[in-house]
Symmetry: C2
Protein backbone atom coordinates (compact mmCIF):
# COMPACT_ATOMS: atom_id res chain seq x y z
CA UNK A 1 0.00 0.00 0.00
CA UNK A 2 1.24 3.48 -0.75
CA UNK A 3 1.91 6.01 1.96
CA UNK A 4 -1.11 8.01 0.79
CA UNK A 5 -3.36 4.97 1.08
CA UNK A 6 -2.12 4.25 4.58
CA UNK A 7 -2.94 7.77 5.67
CA UNK A 8 -6.41 7.38 4.22
CA UNK A 9 -7.17 5.01 7.07
CA UNK A 10 -4.71 6.14 9.71
CA UNK A 11 -6.08 9.63 10.09
CA UNK A 12 -9.38 8.25 11.33
CA UNK A 13 -10.41 7.08 14.79
CA UNK A 14 -11.12 3.49 15.68
CA UNK A 15 -13.94 2.14 17.80
CA UNK A 16 -14.95 -0.83 19.84
CA UNK A 17 -17.48 -2.79 17.87
CA UNK A 18 -19.90 -5.11 19.59
CA UNK A 19 -22.78 -7.41 18.81
CA UNK A 20 -25.89 -7.78 20.93
CA UNK A 21 -28.10 -10.82 20.50
CA UNK A 22 -31.85 -10.78 20.89
CA UNK A 23 -32.39 -14.46 21.49
CA UNK A 24 -36.06 -15.28 21.06
CA UNK A 25 -37.83 -18.43 22.18
CA UNK A 26 -41.47 -19.44 22.41
CA UNK A 27 -42.86 -20.94 25.60
CA UNK A 28 -46.09 -20.67 27.58
CA UNK A 29 -47.75 -18.81 24.73
CA UNK A 30 -45.15 -16.07 25.11
CA UNK A 31 -42.39 -14.77 22.92
CA UNK A 32 -39.47 -14.68 25.32
CA UNK A 33 -36.07 -13.08 25.15
CA UNK A 34 -32.93 -14.09 26.98
CA UNK A 35 -31.37 -11.45 29.23
CA UNK A 36 -28.44 -11.36 31.55
CA UNK A 37 -28.53 -10.04 35.09
CA UNK A 38 -25.04 -8.61 35.23
CA UNK A 39 -23.04 -9.31 38.34
CA UNK A 40 -19.86 -7.73 37.02
CA UNK A 41 -18.65 -4.31 35.99
CA UNK A 42 -19.49 -2.29 34.12
CA UNK A 43 -23.19 -1.97 34.83
CA UNK A 44 -23.33 -4.50 37.61
CA UNK A 45 -26.94 -5.09 38.62
CA UNK A 46 -28.42 -4.07 35.30
CA UNK A 47 -30.20 -6.34 32.88
CA UNK A 48 -28.73 -6.47 29.39
CA UNK A 49 -28.88 -8.44 26.20
CA UNK A 50 -26.18 -11.00 25.64
CA UNK A 51 -23.37 -9.39 23.78
CA UNK A 52 -19.72 -9.44 23.01
CA UNK A 53 -17.00 -7.49 21.30
CA UNK A 54 -16.07 -8.05 17.70
CA UNK A 55 -12.66 -9.69 17.38
CA UNK A 56 -10.08 -9.28 14.64
CA UNK A 57 -10.65 -12.45 12.70
CA UNK A 58 -14.43 -12.65 12.57
CA UNK A 59 -17.33 -10.94 10.88
CA UNK A 60 -20.23 -9.49 12.85
CA UNK A 61 -22.34 -12.47 11.86
CA UNK A 62 -19.67 -14.82 13.20
CA UNK A 63 -19.36 -12.81 16.39
CA UNK A 64 -23.11 -13.03 16.90
CA UNK A 65 -23.04 -16.79 16.35
CA UNK A 66 -20.17 -17.05 18.82
CA UNK A 67 -22.06 -15.09 21.48
CA UNK A 68 -25.11 -17.23 20.85
CA UNK A 69 -23.18 -20.45 21.14
CA UNK A 70 -21.45 -19.32 24.31
CA UNK A 71 -24.76 -18.57 26.01
CA UNK A 72 -26.98 -21.36 24.65
CA UNK A 73 -24.63 -24.05 23.36
CA UNK A 74 -26.39 -23.84 19.97
CA UNK A 75 -24.74 -23.50 16.58
CA UNK A 76 -26.10 -22.89 13.10
CA UNK A 77 -29.02 -20.92 14.37
CA UNK A 78 -31.28 -18.68 12.28
CA UNK A 79 -30.19 -15.07 12.82
CA UNK A 80 -30.97 -11.80 11.17
CA UNK A 81 -29.29 -8.45 11.50
CA UNK A 82 -31.54 -5.87 13.14
CA UNK A 83 -29.48 -2.72 12.93
CA UNK A 84 -26.48 -0.88 14.23
CA UNK A 85 -26.63 1.46 17.17
CA UNK A 86 -24.14 4.24 17.59
CA UNK A 87 -25.48 6.99 19.84
CA UNK A 88 -22.63 8.82 21.55
CA UNK A 89 -23.94 8.12 25.03
CA UNK A 90 -25.18 4.60 24.48
CA UNK A 91 -22.38 3.12 26.55
CA UNK A 92 -21.00 5.54 29.15
CA UNK A 93 -17.93 3.37 29.71
CA UNK A 94 -16.52 3.81 26.22
CA UNK A 95 -17.59 4.57 22.69
CA UNK A 96 -19.01 1.30 21.42
CA UNK A 97 -20.79 0.75 18.12
CA UNK A 98 -23.10 -2.20 18.42
CA UNK A 99 -24.89 -4.29 15.84
CA UNK A 100 -27.96 -6.17 17.00
CA UNK A 101 -28.96 -9.59 15.67
CA UNK A 102 -32.01 -11.57 16.56
CA UNK A 103 -31.90 -15.33 16.82
CA UNK A 104 -34.75 -17.84 16.92
CA UNK A 105 -34.17 -20.93 19.00
CA UNK A 106 -36.08 -23.99 20.10
CA UNK A 107 -36.05 -23.77 23.87
CA UNK A 108 -36.04 -27.56 24.14
CA UNK A 109 -32.63 -27.79 22.56
CA UNK A 110 -30.52 -25.16 24.27
CA UNK A 111 -28.26 -25.87 27.20
CA UNK A 112 -30.17 -24.43 30.13
CA UNK A 113 -27.39 -25.29 32.56
CA UNK A 114 -25.40 -22.44 31.07
CA UNK A 115 -27.89 -19.91 32.41
CA UNK A 116 -26.52 -20.20 35.94
CA UNK A 117 -23.02 -19.40 34.81
CA UNK A 118 -23.92 -15.96 33.54
CA UNK A 119 -27.19 -15.26 35.39
CA UNK A 120 -29.31 -15.61 32.32
CA UNK A 121 -33.07 -15.29 32.52
CA UNK A 122 -35.93 -15.55 30.10
CA UNK A 123 -38.45 -12.72 30.11
CA UNK A 124 -41.64 -12.22 28.16
CA UNK A 125 -41.40 -9.59 25.44
CA UNK A 126 -44.84 -8.41 26.51
CA UNK A 127 -43.65 -7.09 29.84
CA UNK A 128 -40.02 -6.18 29.49
CA UNK A 129 -38.28 -5.20 32.70
CA UNK A 130 -36.05 -2.17 32.85
CA UNK A 131 -33.07 -2.90 30.63
CA UNK A 132 -29.80 -1.05 30.29
CA UNK A 133 -28.34 0.83 27.31
CA UNK A 134 -30.48 1.02 24.20
CA UNK A 135 -31.28 -2.66 24.51
CA UNK A 136 -35.00 -2.11 24.89
CA UNK A 137 -35.04 -0.37 21.55
CA UNK A 138 -33.07 -3.22 20.02
CA UNK A 139 -35.59 -5.74 21.30
CA UNK A 140 -38.53 -3.72 20.01
CA UNK A 141 -36.93 -3.34 16.60
CA UNK A 142 -36.14 -7.04 16.48
CA UNK A 143 -39.68 -7.93 17.45
CA UNK A 144 -41.07 -5.70 14.72
CA UNK A 145 -38.68 -7.16 12.15
CA UNK A 146 -39.71 -10.65 13.18
CA UNK A 147 -43.37 -9.68 12.96
CA UNK A 148 -42.94 -8.54 9.38
CA UNK A 149 -40.76 -11.47 8.42
CA UNK A 150 -42.98 -14.20 9.75
CA UNK A 151 -45.86 -13.22 7.48
CA UNK A 152 -44.07 -14.08 4.28
CA UNK A 153 -41.21 -16.34 5.31
CA UNK A 154 -41.25 -19.62 7.19
CA UNK A 155 -38.91 -18.53 9.97
CA UNK A 156 -41.37 -19.22 12.77
CA UNK A 157 -40.60 -22.94 12.72
CA UNK A 158 -37.22 -22.16 14.25
CA UNK A 159 -39.04 -21.35 17.48
CA UNK A 160 -40.88 -24.68 17.58
CA UNK A 161 -39.74 -28.24 18.11
CA UNK A 162 -39.27 -30.31 14.93
CA UNK A 163 -42.84 -31.56 15.22
CA UNK A 164 -45.65 -29.45 16.57
CA UNK A 165 -49.42 -29.28 16.67
CA UNK A 166 -51.40 -26.80 14.63
CA UNK A 167 -52.63 -25.21 17.84
CA UNK A 168 -49.02 -24.52 18.81
CA UNK A 169 -48.25 -23.06 15.40
CA UNK A 170 -51.34 -20.89 15.53
CA UNK A 171 -50.55 -19.57 18.99
CA UNK A 172 -47.03 -18.75 17.83
CA UNK A 173 -48.45 -16.64 15.02
CA UNK A 174 -51.00 -15.02 17.30
CA UNK A 175 -48.36 -14.05 19.82
CA UNK A 176 -45.88 -12.68 17.30
CA UNK A 177 -48.47 -10.85 15.22
CA UNK A 178 -50.29 -9.67 18.33
CA UNK A 179 -53.73 -10.61 17.03
CA UNK A 180 -56.13 -13.50 17.23
CA UNK A 181 -56.46 -15.70 14.17
CA UNK A 182 -59.54 -17.65 13.16
CA UNK A 183 -58.83 -21.33 13.68
CA UNK A 184 -60.54 -22.60 10.54
CA UNK A 185 -59.01 -19.97 8.29
CA UNK A 186 -55.59 -20.64 9.75
CA UNK A 187 -55.87 -24.39 9.21
CA UNK A 188 -57.12 -23.85 5.69
CA UNK A 189 -54.01 -21.82 4.89
CA UNK A 190 -51.75 -24.39 6.53
CA UNK A 191 -53.28 -27.16 4.44
CA UNK A 192 -52.47 -25.17 1.31
CA UNK A 193 -48.80 -25.04 2.31
CA UNK A 194 -47.77 -28.51 1.22
CA UNK A 195 -44.44 -28.24 3.01
CA UNK A 196 -46.21 -28.35 6.38
CA UNK A 197 -46.88 -32.03 6.58
CA UNK A 198 -48.37 -34.49 9.04
CA UNK A 199 -45.79 -36.68 10.71
CA UNK A 200 -48.39 -39.34 11.48
CA UNK A 201 -47.63 -39.04 15.18
CA UNK A 202 -50.21 -37.89 17.67
CA UNK A 203 -49.44 -35.57 20.54
CA UNK A 204 -51.24 -36.76 23.65
CA UNK A 205 -49.77 -34.20 26.02
CA UNK A 206 -51.70 -31.12 25.05
CA UNK A 207 -55.17 -32.63 24.99
CA UNK A 208 -57.18 -35.69 25.90
CA UNK A 209 -58.22 -36.37 22.38
CA UNK A 210 -54.72 -35.96 20.97
CA UNK A 211 -53.59 -33.66 18.17
CA UNK A 212 -51.80 -34.53 14.96
CA UNK A 213 -48.17 -33.52 14.87
CA UNK A 214 -46.82 -31.65 11.86
CA UNK A 215 -43.36 -30.84 10.59
CA UNK A 216 -41.89 -28.21 8.32
CA UNK A 217 -40.32 -29.78 5.23
CA UNK A 218 -37.55 -27.43 4.14
CA UNK A 219 -36.82 -29.29 0.89
CA UNK A 220 -40.43 -29.02 -0.26
CA UNK A 221 -40.50 -25.37 0.72
CA UNK A 222 -37.42 -24.66 -1.35
CA UNK A 223 -39.12 -26.13 -4.40
CA UNK A 224 -42.32 -24.18 -3.96
CA UNK A 225 -41.04 -21.05 -2.35
CA UNK A 226 -44.34 -19.47 -1.65
CA UNK A 227 -45.45 -18.79 1.84
CA UNK A 228 -48.23 -17.06 3.61
CA UNK A 229 -49.86 -17.79 6.92
CA UNK A 230 -51.91 -14.76 7.81
Amino acid sequence: MTQKAKEYYRDNPQFYVAVDCIIFAFENDELQVLLQQRNFEPFRGEKTLLGGFLQDEESLEEAAQRVLQFHTGLTNIYMEQVGTFSALDRDPGARVISTAYYALIDKNLYDSALLKEYDGEWVSTDHLPSIHFDHTKMIEQARELLRRKISFSPVGFNLLPPSFTLAQLQRLYEVILGQEIDKRNFRKRVSEMQFIEKTGEIDKVSSRRGASLFQFNMEKYNLIHEFKLK
Copy 2:
Protein backbone atom coordinates in the same frame (compact mmCIF):
# COMPACT_ATOMS: atom_id res chain seq x y z
CA MET B 1 -14.74 3.58 36.31
CA THR B 2 -13.14 0.73 38.16
CA GLN B 3 -10.03 -1.02 36.90
CA LYS B 4 -12.11 -4.09 36.10
CA ALA B 5 -14.51 -2.08 33.99
CA LYS B 6 -11.67 -0.48 32.07
CA GLU B 7 -10.25 -3.87 31.20
CA TYR B 8 -13.66 -4.95 30.00
CA TYR B 9 -13.19 -2.67 27.03
CA ARG B 10 -9.40 -2.47 26.78
CA ASP B 11 -8.84 -6.14 26.08
CA ASN B 12 -10.76 -5.87 22.83
CA PRO B 13 -9.65 -4.68 19.41
CA GLN B 14 -10.85 -1.51 17.78
CA PHE B 15 -11.89 -0.99 14.19
CA TYR B 16 -12.31 1.67 11.59
CA VAL B 17 -16.02 2.30 11.18
CA ALA B 18 -17.39 3.82 8.00
CA VAL B 19 -20.67 4.82 6.43
CA ASP B 20 -21.54 4.34 2.79
CA CYS B 21 -24.40 6.29 1.29
CA ILE B 22 -26.67 4.97 -1.41
CA ILE B 23 -27.99 8.27 -2.72
CA PHE B 24 -31.04 7.64 -4.86
CA ALA B 25 -32.65 10.07 -7.27
CA PHE B 26 -35.34 9.76 -9.91
CA GLU B 27 -34.78 11.10 -13.41
CA ASN B 28 -35.59 10.01 -16.96
CA ASP B 29 -37.85 7.28 -15.64
CA GLU B 30 -34.88 5.72 -13.88
CA LEU B 31 -33.93 5.19 -10.28
CA GLN B 32 -30.39 6.48 -10.18
CA VAL B 33 -27.63 6.20 -7.65
CA LEU B 34 -24.68 8.50 -7.13
CA LEU B 35 -21.24 6.94 -7.47
CA GLN B 36 -17.73 8.24 -7.32
CA GLN B 37 -15.03 7.50 -9.87
CA ARG B 38 -12.05 7.45 -7.54
CA ASN B 39 -8.96 9.27 -8.67
CA PHE B 40 -7.08 8.76 -5.40
CA GLU B 41 -5.71 5.89 -3.39
CA PRO B 42 -6.73 3.45 -2.27
CA PHE B 43 -8.67 1.92 -5.15
CA ARG B 44 -7.88 4.59 -7.67
CA GLY B 45 -9.86 4.02 -10.83
CA GLU B 46 -12.65 2.06 -9.16
CA LYS B 47 -16.23 3.17 -8.78
CA THR B 48 -17.53 3.31 -5.22
CA LEU B 49 -20.40 4.61 -3.19
CA LEU B 50 -19.89 7.87 -1.37
CA GLY B 51 -18.58 7.12 2.05
CA GLY B 52 -16.62 8.37 4.97
CA PHE B 53 -15.18 7.29 8.27
CA LEU B 54 -17.07 7.64 11.49
CA GLN B 55 -15.56 10.34 13.70
CA ASP B 56 -15.43 10.52 17.47
CA GLU B 57 -18.19 12.96 18.14
CA GLU B 58 -20.89 11.77 15.79
CA SER B 59 -23.34 8.91 15.43
CA LEU B 60 -23.50 6.80 12.28
CA GLU B 61 -26.64 8.64 11.26
CA GLU B 62 -24.83 11.96 11.66
CA ALA B 63 -21.85 10.68 9.72
CA ALA B 64 -24.14 9.60 6.90
CA GLN B 65 -25.80 13.03 6.86
CA ARG B 66 -22.36 14.64 6.81
CA VAL B 67 -21.23 12.53 3.85
CA LEU B 68 -24.47 13.32 2.09
CA GLN B 69 -24.16 17.04 2.67
CA PHE B 70 -20.55 17.06 1.55
CA HIS B 71 -21.42 15.44 -1.76
CA THR B 72 -24.80 17.01 -2.54
CA GLY B 73 -25.02 20.14 -0.42
CA LEU B 74 -28.29 18.85 1.04
CA THR B 75 -29.25 18.64 4.71
CA ASN B 76 -32.18 17.09 6.53
CA ILE B 77 -32.64 14.39 3.96
CA TYR B 78 -34.68 11.23 4.39
CA MET B 79 -32.29 8.38 5.16
CA GLU B 80 -32.69 4.83 6.33
CA GLN B 81 -30.13 2.39 7.61
CA VAL B 82 -29.68 -0.55 5.28
CA GLY B 83 -27.28 -2.76 7.20
CA THR B 84 -23.75 -3.20 8.40
CA PHE B 85 -21.11 -5.01 6.40
CA SER B 86 -18.17 -6.63 8.08
CA ALA B 87 -16.63 -9.33 5.89
CA LEU B 88 -12.95 -9.74 6.69
CA ASP B 89 -11.84 -9.09 3.13
CA ARG B 90 -14.30 -6.37 2.25
CA ASP B 91 -11.60 -3.71 2.27
CA PRO B 92 -8.13 -5.09 1.56
CA GLY B 93 -6.49 -1.90 2.81
CA ALA B 94 -7.61 -2.28 6.40
CA ARG B 95 -10.35 -3.86 8.48
CA VAL B 96 -13.30 -1.53 8.09
CA ILE B 97 -16.82 -2.12 9.35
CA SER B 98 -19.25 -0.18 7.24
CA THR B 99 -22.88 0.75 7.74
CA ALA B 100 -24.89 1.54 4.63
CA TYR B 101 -27.63 4.15 4.53
CA TYR B 102 -29.85 5.00 1.63
CA ALA B 103 -30.97 8.58 1.01
CA LEU B 104 -33.74 9.87 -1.23
CA ILE B 105 -33.14 13.23 -2.83
CA ASP B 106 -34.83 15.53 -5.30
CA LYS B 107 -32.32 15.89 -8.09
CA ASN B 108 -33.50 19.43 -8.78
CA LEU B 109 -32.31 20.64 -5.43
CA TYR B 110 -28.84 19.23 -5.02
CA ASP B 111 -25.66 21.09 -5.87
CA SER B 112 -24.56 19.49 -9.10
CA ALA B 113 -21.43 21.64 -9.27
CA LEU B 114 -20.00 19.50 -6.48
CA LEU B 115 -19.91 16.47 -8.75
CA LYS B 116 -16.82 17.72 -10.57
CA GLU B 117 -14.89 18.08 -7.35
CA TYR B 118 -15.07 14.39 -6.52
CA ASP B 119 -15.81 12.83 -9.92
CA GLY B 120 -19.35 11.96 -9.01
CA GLU B 121 -21.64 10.37 -11.55
CA TRP B 122 -25.24 9.24 -11.59
CA VAL B 123 -25.91 5.74 -12.86
CA SER B 124 -29.14 3.85 -13.38
CA THR B 125 -29.77 1.12 -10.84
CA ASP B 126 -30.98 -1.04 -13.71
CA HIS B 127 -27.56 -1.34 -15.28
CA LEU B 128 -25.01 -0.96 -12.55
CA PRO B 129 -21.42 -0.78 -13.69
CA SER B 130 -18.72 -2.76 -11.96
CA ILE B 131 -18.39 -1.34 -8.46
CA HIS B 132 -15.72 -1.91 -5.86
CA PHE B 133 -15.98 -3.57 -2.43
CA ASP B 134 -19.34 -4.97 -1.46
CA HIS B 135 -21.02 -1.81 -2.68
CA THR B 136 -23.10 -3.60 -5.31
CA LYS B 137 -24.64 -5.70 -2.57
CA MET B 138 -25.32 -2.57 -0.54
CA ILE B 139 -27.11 -0.96 -3.47
CA GLU B 140 -29.18 -4.06 -4.12
CA GLN B 141 -30.16 -4.34 -0.48
CA ALA B 142 -31.05 -0.65 -0.37
CA ARG B 143 -33.13 -0.95 -3.51
CA GLU B 144 -35.01 -3.90 -2.06
CA LEU B 145 -35.59 -2.07 1.23
CA LEU B 146 -36.90 0.93 -0.67
CA ARG B 147 -39.15 -1.30 -2.74
CA ARG B 148 -40.74 -2.72 0.36
CA LYS B 149 -40.96 0.62 2.13
CA ILE B 150 -42.60 2.53 -0.67
CA SER B 151 -45.63 0.26 -0.72
CA PHE B 152 -46.78 1.21 2.73
CA SER B 153 -45.03 4.45 3.54
CA PRO B 154 -45.05 7.75 1.66
CA VAL B 155 -41.29 8.00 1.24
CA GLY B 156 -41.39 8.16 -2.56
CA PHE B 157 -42.26 11.84 -2.51
CA ASN B 158 -38.72 12.58 -1.37
CA LEU B 159 -37.57 11.67 -4.87
CA LEU B 160 -39.96 14.09 -6.58
CA PRO B 161 -40.14 17.86 -6.68
CA PRO B 162 -42.62 19.48 -4.25
CA SER B 163 -45.30 19.39 -6.92
CA PHE B 164 -45.59 16.66 -9.49
CA THR B 165 -47.99 15.16 -11.98
CA LEU B 166 -49.74 11.87 -11.41
CA ALA B 167 -47.92 10.44 -14.42
CA GLN B 168 -44.61 11.24 -12.74
CA LEU B 169 -45.74 9.65 -9.48
CA GLN B 170 -46.95 6.57 -11.30
CA ARG B 171 -43.72 6.16 -13.23
CA LEU B 172 -41.78 6.48 -9.97
CA TYR B 173 -43.78 3.60 -8.51
CA GLU B 174 -43.45 1.53 -11.66
CA VAL B 175 -39.69 1.97 -11.71
CA ILE B 176 -39.15 1.21 -8.03
CA LEU B 177 -41.56 -1.71 -7.92
CA GLY B 178 -40.36 -2.98 -11.28
CA GLN B 179 -43.85 -3.52 -12.65
CA GLU B 180 -46.39 -1.67 -14.73
CA ILE B 181 -49.38 -0.22 -12.94
CA ASP B 182 -52.81 0.32 -14.45
CA LYS B 183 -53.37 4.06 -14.83
CA ARG B 184 -56.98 4.11 -13.73
CA ASN B 185 -56.41 1.89 -10.74
CA PHE B 186 -53.43 3.95 -9.69
CA ARG B 187 -55.35 7.21 -9.91
CA LYS B 188 -58.24 5.69 -8.01
CA ARG B 189 -55.91 4.83 -5.15
CA VAL B 190 -54.29 8.27 -5.24
CA SER B 191 -57.68 9.95 -5.03
CA GLU B 192 -58.40 7.92 -1.90
CA MET B 193 -55.25 9.28 -0.23
CA GLN B 194 -56.52 12.68 0.80
CA PHE B 195 -53.05 13.90 1.64
CA ILE B 196 -52.11 13.88 -2.04
CA GLU B 197 -53.77 17.08 -3.09
CA LYS B 198 -54.08 19.18 -6.22
CA THR B 199 -52.08 22.37 -6.06
CA GLY B 200 -54.33 24.01 -8.65
CA GLU B 201 -51.31 24.58 -10.88
CA ILE B 202 -51.03 22.99 -14.30
CA ASP B 203 -47.81 21.57 -15.66
CA LYS B 204 -47.48 22.50 -19.31
CA VAL B 205 -44.04 21.01 -19.85
CA SER B 206 -44.84 17.35 -19.98
CA SER B 207 -47.78 17.49 -22.38
CA ARG B 208 -49.67 19.76 -24.72
CA ARG B 209 -52.86 19.49 -22.78
CA GLY B 210 -51.24 20.13 -19.44
CA ALA B 211 -51.44 17.97 -16.33
CA SER B 212 -52.62 18.91 -12.87
CA LEU B 213 -49.86 19.24 -10.33
CA PHE B 214 -50.20 17.54 -6.97
CA GLN B 215 -48.38 17.83 -3.67
CA PHE B 216 -47.89 15.60 -0.68
CA ASN B 217 -49.38 17.12 2.46
CA MET B 218 -47.38 15.77 5.37
CA GLU B 219 -49.66 17.26 8.02
CA LYS B 220 -52.72 15.56 6.60
CA TYR B 221 -50.79 12.32 6.29
CA ASN B 222 -49.81 12.45 9.94
CA LEU B 223 -53.45 12.74 10.92
CA ILE B 224 -54.63 9.88 8.77
CA HIS B 225 -51.56 7.67 8.79
CA GLU B 226 -52.76 5.14 6.32
CA PHE B 227 -51.01 4.65 3.06
CA LYS B 228 -51.10 2.33 0.16
CA LEU B 229 -50.33 2.93 -3.48
CA LYS B 230 -50.04 -0.46 -5.08
